[in-house]
Amino acid sequence: MTSDAALLDYLLRLADNGLVLAQRLGEWVGKGPVIEEDIASTNVGLDLLGQARLWYAYAGEVEARIKGTGRDEDVFAFRRDAHEFRNLLLVEQPNGHYGDTIARGFLFDQWHVLLLRALAGSTDDRVAAIAAKAAKEATYHAERSADWVVRLGDGTGLSHERMQQAIDGLWMYTGEMFAVDAGEEALAAAGIAADARALKDPWDAAVGAVLAEATLERPADGWMQSGGRTGRHSEHLGHLLATMQFLPRAYPDAKW
């Protein structure tokens, strides 16, 4: 794989994470537990969507370097099938109850902020610039979701139980965040990508501290699901895309 081909794949991983999670948060619009929370959660969705658009734009440029022409953000978002999506399995998991949504956000945010901070030092200027902007947003997301994990974990008996189940249920999707394939390894060696393996210890420490404050138990690292970043997804992604892509697919000639 040429380094640009690897970079394209890497950028789509970053972009797809943002888009898919933003799409999930979009399902909550108007249905949050309290108005303030509805507004706050939509802010996170908007940040992630904005980040995805920046990554797609750069991905399109990199693709143009390879092929002469590159796709735009909407072609990436609306004209690829599930097996072409490169997001983590974690972010495509259904919203569940509010605790499930918070837990999913928390596990992702803690990783995302570490990743983006590392990428802010990328040798690729474009990657570094997008990551630096996104890292500020992700820092807030991580604080917010951690705060909610603590509130719900150390809230009522019921909320504690629900939060523990949410964390337990999603834990098997966290391993994928720290796996590195050959393409990513080469990019990391060139200083373009971050070495995800190096994020594991700080992530463990940060997640462990929040879970402890939340009086929640950290699940053991058992069997981990993987495949999202090579296009093998859970059944959920197909349905998410069917909804999201309906209009551009049904009216391929339309401009919206």
């Binding site: 309290v34 303030e36 507004i39 706050a40 802010n43 807030y140 604080e143 917010r144 705060d147 509130r151």
Partner: protein, 94 residues
């Protein structure tokens, strides 16, 4: 029904070096959450760089019944305003 989250008054300082100004109110379980909610509710359009929150129940306000006693006396002290002192037109920079 669960206990309602208390009401908070939100004050925002904008970027231009002005004082904190009342922006509105919101509900939050505690002060920390109130700050976060204020950030999300009242600074979506770059409105501020600093936030204060105060429990609404802690705000002490002057009473409308005292309006005349409190504020009318200031009306007769026009000499506090620069326009009270007409300057000759040929005098500049004052």
């Amino acid at each position: 029904m669960s206990k309602e989250w208390p009401l908070w008054e939100v004050f925002i300082r904008s970027q231009h070096g002005l004082a904190h100004k009342h922006a509105g109110s919101l509900h939050a379980a505690d002060a920390e959450m109130a700050i976060r909610n204020a950030r999300d509710v009242y600074t979506r359009r770059n409105e501020g760089v600093s936030i204060w929150v105060v429990r609404s129940s802690d705000v002490v306000a002057s009473s409308p019944g005292d309006r005349e006693a409190l504020f009318d006396p200031a009306q007769s002290k026009v000499y506090r305003h620069p326009t009270f002192f007409p300057m000759p037109p040929e005098v500049k920079n004052i």
